[in-house]
Subunit: 427 residues, 2 copies
Amino acid sequence: METRTMFLGHFLVISLALNAGLLYRDYCNGKHKSQDFFFFNNGFKNASLASKRDAHVAKRTPLETKAPLKALGGVIDLDHGDPTMYERYWREMGDKTTVLIPGWKFISYFSDVRSLCWFLEPEFANAIIRLHKLVGNAVTEGRYIVVGTGSTQLFQAVLYAISPPDASEPISVVSAAPFYSSYPLITDFLKSGLYKWAGDARKFKKDKPYIELVTSPNNPDGVTREAVVNQNQGILIHDLAYYWPQYTPISSPADHDIMLFTVSKSTGHAGMRLGWALVRDQEIAKKMTEFIVLSTIGVSKESQIRAAKILQVVADSHEHRGNFKEGEAFFEHSYNLMAKRWKQLRDAVEKNDLFTLPDFSRGTCNFSQRAFASQPAFAWLKCREVEDCESFLRYHKIITRSGRHFGESANYATLHLASPSPSPSPS
Amino acid sequence: METRTMFLGHFLVISLALNAGLLYRDYCNGKHKSQDFFFFNNGFKNASLASKRDAHVAKRTPLETKAPLKALGGVIDLDHGDPTMYERYWREMGDKTTVLIPGWKFISYFSDVRSLCWFLEPEFANAIIRLHKLVGNAVTEGRYIVVGTGSTQLFQAVLYAISPPDASEPISVVSAAPFYSSYPLITDFLKSGLYKWAGDARKFKKDKPYIELVTSPNNPDGVTREAVVNQNQGILIHDLAYYWPQYTPISSPADHDIMLFTVSKSTGHAGMRLGWALVRDQEIAKKMTEFIVLSTIGVSKESQIRAAKILQVVADSHEHRGNFKEGEAFFEHSYNLMAKRWKQLRDAVEKNDLFTLPDFSRGTCNFSQRAFASQPAFAWLKCREVEDCESFLRYHKIITRSGRHFGESANYATLHLASPSPSPSPS
C-alpha cells in the first residue's frame, strides 16, 4: 500500500498554498521570484504570449544548470515529468526484472541484419508485440518497429523521414494547442531546412504540405485527441506515449500510420532512454532508421535488453498472476496510484475557488474492464484569478510548468503527478 | 592465443585476390558488379569525383537495407567498422565485467543534479578519468565531461554548441581529406541553418568563422594529424577515437579544448552507443548538454553503468595484474592482435605490385614503453592500376569503402582490420 503520508503531505501544502486570501495577497505584494532550472531560459514573464513564444522558440539560449529546487529541500518539483512514482513498484518486484549482461555482449553495431531496423534487438521487438497484444492499445500486425533513444529521437526521425528532401521551403509542423512544450524546441533547434514549427494546428490554414502531431492522451491536458487540420496534404504523427491503462481507458487498438511509444511513460524507466515507433509504410520506416543511424548509429542494446525483460514482466504480471502477489499486476497497481493522486488533487482543488482542473468523461477500458475517467500523468491546472499561474505556485515553492510553453496562456500550469516517488512501504 | 587460421585465411583470400594477372584481367572483362549495403545509395561509379561527391553529400537518399554480404557467406566484409575483433577477449574475461541491473534502477531522467551534465552517471565519469590517467592519452583536469550516445552524437552536439546562433549563414565545417566519411553526411543531413559542410580543410581559404575537425589518428589513413586551416576565426574539434595504445604510440596526453572519445574504438563495445567529450569551456559544455537534452533527453544509463564496469576492468588488467592471467592486460592483448593483423596484411600486399599501404614512422609509447609504428583500425589501401579500388575488391567478394567517401579518389579503399572476430581459442 502506498504510504500516503508523503504524497498527501504534498497536497496539504498545495491546499495551504491554495488559500486564496493569504497567498493572493502575498503574490500581489510582489514577493514572488522566478528561477530557471533544467529548462531553457525563457526570459519573459507577464508579456504578450504570441510574440514572446516566438522569441522563446526561435532563440537558442544557454541551458540553466542550477540544481532543481527539489534538491534544495522544502520544495515540491512537479515540473520535470520524472516518473519516479514507479520506483517503489519495481523495488517490490525484486529480482524478477534483474538483468545480467556479460562483458562480451553487444560488441557489434548490428542486432539483426535481416531486419529493416537492424539495430533493433529481437527480444525487445517481441516484448513490444506481446505487450500491445495484451493491452490492446495498438495494432502491430503489418507494422515495422523502429527503436529510438526515446520517443524524442523517434519524433525527429519521423520529421526527417516524411519531410520532402528537395522542397523549396521547410514543411510546416503543427499541433493543436495546448501542445507538448518540447515540440517547438525540438523541431526548430537546428534550424533545419527540412521542417519548421508552425504553431497551433487549429490556426493552420495554408494550402501546403504539413505534418500534424496528434498526442493522445494529450500532454498537457489529458484530452483524447484527433487530427484537427484535416487537409489533403497532411501527414499525421500519433504520439501515444500515454495511451496506457493506468492513465486512460483503452477503448480500441490504435491503428494509425505512425505511432510513437516510450518506455518512460509505460513502465516509468525514463533513464533507459528508449522508445519505439510502429510504422505502416516501409519507406518511412527505412528513412527513420536512416535518421537514427546518422544521429547515433543505432540505439543502446543494453537499454533494449533491459526493456525487453521489464515489458515481459509487466505482461507476466497480468497473464501469469499466480507468480505474483495480489495487487502486483503492473497496470492495476499503477492505475490505483494514479487514481489516488487524482482524488487527492481534486479534493485539494475543490477547497477553494482559485483553481480548476479538467473534467474527463468516463469510458470503459477494454483491458481492465473498468469504467473510469482519464487520470493523466499531468494535471492541467487553471488559475482563475492569477495571470501567471506558474509564478504564483513557484512563490509557494511548488514548481510547475507554465501554460505558455504549451501554446496556451500563462494562467495555466502543469503539475506532474507521476512524481515524486511514494515512500517505501513499511517493512 | 588468437586462432590465426580464420583471419589468416581471410588474408590468403586477399592474397589470391591480389594476384594481379588473373584478377585484373577478370575485372577488365567487366565482370564486376556493384551493390549497396548498410550505406547510403551513392549512385556514382566511374565519374568525376568532385561533382558526384557534392551530389552524394547534398542528396538525402533512402538507406539500403539489404543484408550485408557478410551474412550471405563466402564474403569478407571489411567495410563496416564493426569492432568484433574484441569479442573473444571479453568472452575470456568471463564474469569480471558482468553487470547486474535490478529493475528499479534508472527510473529517473537525472543522474547527478549537481553536475553540469546531469545525465552523466558518476561511476562512468570516474572510470573515464581513471583510464585517461592510466593511459596518459588525455588531460582530464579542468575539463567538463559530457556523455553522448556515441561520439557521433557528441560531434553534432559540438557543432550545435559552437555555431553562432544568429549568424546570417551557417558556419563552415571542414576537415582535411581524407576525412571520416560520415562527417559530411552527419553535418548536412538536416540542412541545418547553423552549420554546413564545406569540404577539405586544405582548400578552405575563406576569411570567415569555421569549425575544423581534426581526427588523430585519422580515419581512414591512420596519420597523426594537426589542424591545417590555422586562421583566426576557427574552432577545433579533436576526434581522438583511435588515440589508444593498441593503435598508436601514446606520445603525450592530448590537451585540446574539445576532445571526443568513444567506447566503440577503445574497448570494442560498439553496440553500447556511448562516447564522451572532454571540454574545457563551461559554456560549450552546457550547450552540448542542451543539444543532447533536445536530441534524446540524455543518454542510456544502462550503457553508462556497463561501460563504467568495463573501463574499470581495462584499468585493473594493467594496474592489478595479479588478478589476471598472463597476456590479459587489455591494451597488450589488443596491441598484439592489431600487430598480427597488420603483419599479415603487409605480407599479403607485398606479394604483388597492385596495392600499397601507408608507412608509419616508429614512435615511443609512454604507456607501454614500446617503440612501434601505428597500426590503425583501418588500412588505407591504394590500388596502383585500378581506377575504382572498391569495385575491384567487391568483385572478389571483399567489401571495403571507397576513398571517394573520404574526399579522396576512388583508387583508395579502406579495410577495417578490427573485424571480423577471431575464432574462439581451442578449449
